[in-house]
């Protein structure tokens, strides 16, 4: 039988089909037209976006909701550079993406042709790996490698730059797509001797603490972590991205730690004699002042990425491996622990320093998020942007399940939340998906409202609208003598009318009395997307707060009475 000759573009689509891809988030242009043409003959569903940044965040939200790589298809030059922010966001938070970019014909590369940019070159610092296809025969192999690299080990984005003439060229020599990755290994089990040493440390510790990060969620270590915590009676704190790695409704949960973590989690960090990270990279917003962080406590790090070991602080023990496999092996070596005295101390911290806010007066962001949490009862997927609303949501929207909390952590990308919610909704068709965003961030990607409308996605966009770029205002308020510069969002649109103009439903919350009723209406509305404009108090600050680069002992629980010195850390 004579094999049917496929083109490079068709080989790309074949590769996507073989990987079981459902959705492509994309935008066409001159250079990717052959791929868009091949798309017509496939069962793949195209989500046509309004801006390429939206496409990458949607793919990212889809990937984090499902654990499967999100696929993006954009054109050359500006199409691809618009996608870079989303690629960087995925890289910082270890989200698997496969981003396919059209490119000018090979003969034009480097000649400043129309819509030409060295996209693979631009991508190098912000991807797990990238390809420029120069021979159509390589396409089947590269497609397989791209998905394999994106999804395995520490996941991340992989970019494929596909010149238009290669997309049109025949694949004459199909290698069968056999991968060739001699420099890539996937860590699995950790070193058993090291795990035994760590088990010994855990037995000896009087005041142990588990720090659960995104790595634990990616490797699906939740069950093993819970077993470990319950058997040894060890309290658990999570990073921003680790939310959902341990149920926040559990007695042993301390919620999030770090810069805006709960005071009781941070007190636990200050008082523990052992802290073990399961898939958290000890980032700068968690450790504050590196040389004072958990001074004297035994520090243990389990990570699939050896490059994260001893990066900002020095560990006593590092275990290189998959979080789930390592914790499961560790569990076989553990005896029940007695930490009653320590848990008693923790209970005291919880009583002394609860997460609280004033319920009287104007509409508080915290009230809205608290009531939302009560109404959905853990059974919703949250996405967020970055800033005050994100921190309040992290504090008050308790997450109990894996992949139910999707936020831009490492990159801190404004405009992430809403498109990520679109992707998450496609990944979780039956679930309530709520994008908690700020009025600033939403305006960066609100162009995707029609995308949600035409796909009839019942995403709920809750705008915590204080008409300020709130987190920057907070810093100016605390560290810059309240000299506000460039933070007031004058001329915000009427978000309810905006929603209606796009064919979505609009709701507004103005007073405390509106909260429950309006949120319930929004939760019940399933005919398409809705926007809830919550006009909250303009000048509220997020607490607790550890100023960046400062020790945990500098934690603020309320507005300081005097101007504070500039923090030593960055942001």
């Amino acid at each position: 039988m004579k094999a049917v000759t496929r083109t490079g573009a068709q080989a790309i689509i074949d590769g996507l089909q073989q990987q079981g891809v459902e959705y492509i988030f994309g935008y066409p242009g001159g250079a990717n037209m052959p791929i868009f043409d091949a798309l017509l003959d496939s069962s793949l569903k195209l989500i046509l976006v309004r801006h390429e940044q939206g496409a990458t965040h949607m793919a990212d939200g889809y990937a984090r909701a499902t654990g499967k790589p999100g696929v993006v298809l954009v054109t050359s030059g500006p199409g691809a550079t618009n996608a870079i922010t989303g690629i960087m966001t995925a890289q910082m938070d270890s989200a698997p993406l496969v981003v396919i970019c059209g490119q000018t014909v090979v003969g034009n590369l480097g000649l400043d042709a129309f819509q030409e940019a060295d996209v693979s070159g631009i991508s190098y610092p912000v991807v797990k790996h990238s390809y420029l296809i120069r021979n159509a025969n390589d396409t089947p192999r590269i497609m397989r490698e791209a998905f394999f690299l994106a999804a395995t080990g520490r996941p991340g984005p992989v970019l494929i730059d596909m010149p238009k003439d290669i997309a049109l060229a025949p694949v004459t020599l199909d290698s069968g797509g056999e991968m060739h990755l001699p420099g890539y290994t996937i860590p699995t089990h950790g070193d058993s001797d090291q795990i035994a040493t760590v088990a010994q440390c855990l037995h000896e510790a009087k005041r142990p603490l588990l720090l659960v990060g995104h790595g634990a969620l990616i490797s699906d270590a939740g069950k093993a972590v819970r077993h470990l915590a319950e058997r040894m009676q060890i309290p658990v704190t999570t990073t921003l991205l680790g939310k959902g790695g341990f149920p926040e409704t559990h007695d042993l949960s301390l919620g999030m730690l770090g810069m805006h973590g709960t005071a009781y989690a941070n007190k636990a960090v200050m008082n523990c004699d052992l802290i073990m990270s399961i898939g958290s990279r000890w980032d700068d917003r968690i450790i504050g002042k590196a040389d004072e962080f958990c001074d004297g406590a035994v520090k243990i790090h389990i990570d699939i990425d050896a490059a994260e070991f001893n990066k900002l602080i020095t560990m006593d023990h590092c275990i290189h491996g998959d979080a789930r496999l390592v914790v499961e092996e560790l569990n076989t070596m553990l005896q029940p622990g007695d930490t009653k005295a320590w848990l008693g101390e923790i209970a005291k911290f919880k009583r002394q320093f609860p997460l609280s806010f004033k319920k009287k007066g104007g509409l508080k962001a915290q009230s809205v998020l608290y009531e939302l949490d009560q109404l959905v009862g853990g059974d919703a997927v949250y996405t967020t942007d970055v800033g005050q609303h994100q921190m309040w949501a992290a504090q008050f929207c308790r997450t109990t399940e894996r992949n139910h909390w999707i936020t831009s952590g490492g990159a801190g990308t404004m405009g992430f939340g809403f498109p990520a919610a679109i992707g998450a909704q496609l990944g979780f068709p039956g679930k309530t998906v709520i994008a908690v965003v700020g009025d600033g961030g939403f305006q960066m990607t609100m162009a995707e409202l029609p995308t949600a409308v035409i796909n009839k996605l019942p995403v709920k966009v809750l705008i915590i609208n204080n008409s300020y770029l709130g987190m920057v205002r907070q810093w100016q308020n605390i560290f810059f003598d309240n000299r506000l510069s460039g933070v007031e969002m004058k001329g915000n649109p009427d978000f309810v009318k905006l929603a209606e103009a796009c064919g979505a439903k609009g709701f507004r919350i103005k007073r405390n009395a509106d909260i429950k009723r309006v949120l319930q209406q929004a939760l019940d509305y399933n005919d398409g997307p809705c926007v809830i404009d919550a006009e909250v108090e303009k000048e509220d600050n997020v607490f607790p707060m550890i100023p960046s680069g400062e020790p945990y002992s500098s934690m603020l629980l309320e507005n300081p009475r005097t101007k504070l010195a500039q923090p030593r850390g960055s942001t």
């Binding site: 990755l181 420099g183 050896a306 070991f309």
Partner: protein, 165 residues
């Protein structure tokens, strides 16, 4: 101020376009200056061998090696600083040398086991090999006569005995 040391790093990498940029990005992002870099095809032509000399603090180098080993195109990256390794470099040195000083320069050249490659009315071109310290010493001596141009290959490193580079 962090300590600044010179490090010899060897890498085995895929022999493909773009690999060098990915590697140099890891160094530059962390403020490491690459002093010398030698790239050549490895015995297996699908791979390349890189020898890099770079200056910076040792703690950062550990992180750099971690990042290098994480690159998909890097098979392995190793720091040979302080290891017992064979180290060689080649230099071409064009010396300002009129006929009357030729004998004197050639005597130095002989002492350093150089080859004289080219002679003109005013210059003498020497080829020298050896470890980098020896070439530094030669360069210092020849500077008295005037060095017109010098090209050095950069440091090559290979592990001794059966151990892999």
């Amino acid at each position: 101020m962090a300590r600044e040391d010179s490090h010899s790093i060897s890498l085995l990498v895929n022999n493909k376009p773009g690999v060098l940029i990915r590697i140099s990005l890891v160094f530059s992002r962390r403020g490491y200056n690459i002093d010398s870099l030698v790239v050549s095809p490895a015995h297996n032509r699908q791979l390349s061998r890189m020898s890099i000399t770079a200056t910076g603090d040792p703690a950062t180098l550990v992180l750099i090696l971690g990042q290098l080993n994480k690159l998909i195109d890097v098979i392995h990256a190793t720091d040979h600083t302080g290891d017992v390794v064979v180290q060689r470099e080649l230099a071409l040195i064009k010396v300002d040398c009129k006929a009357e000083r030729r004998t004197e320069v050639l005597q130095i050249s002989e002492h350093f086991k150089c080859q004289s490659i080219d002679i003109s009315d005013t210059t003498l071109l020497l080829e020298a090999t050896g470890n980098s310290d020896k070439l530094d010493a030669l360069e210092l001596i020849l500077e008295k006569y005037g060095i017109v141009e010098i090209v050095r290959s950069g440091k090559l490193v290979m592990a001794r005995g059966a151990s892999a580079t």
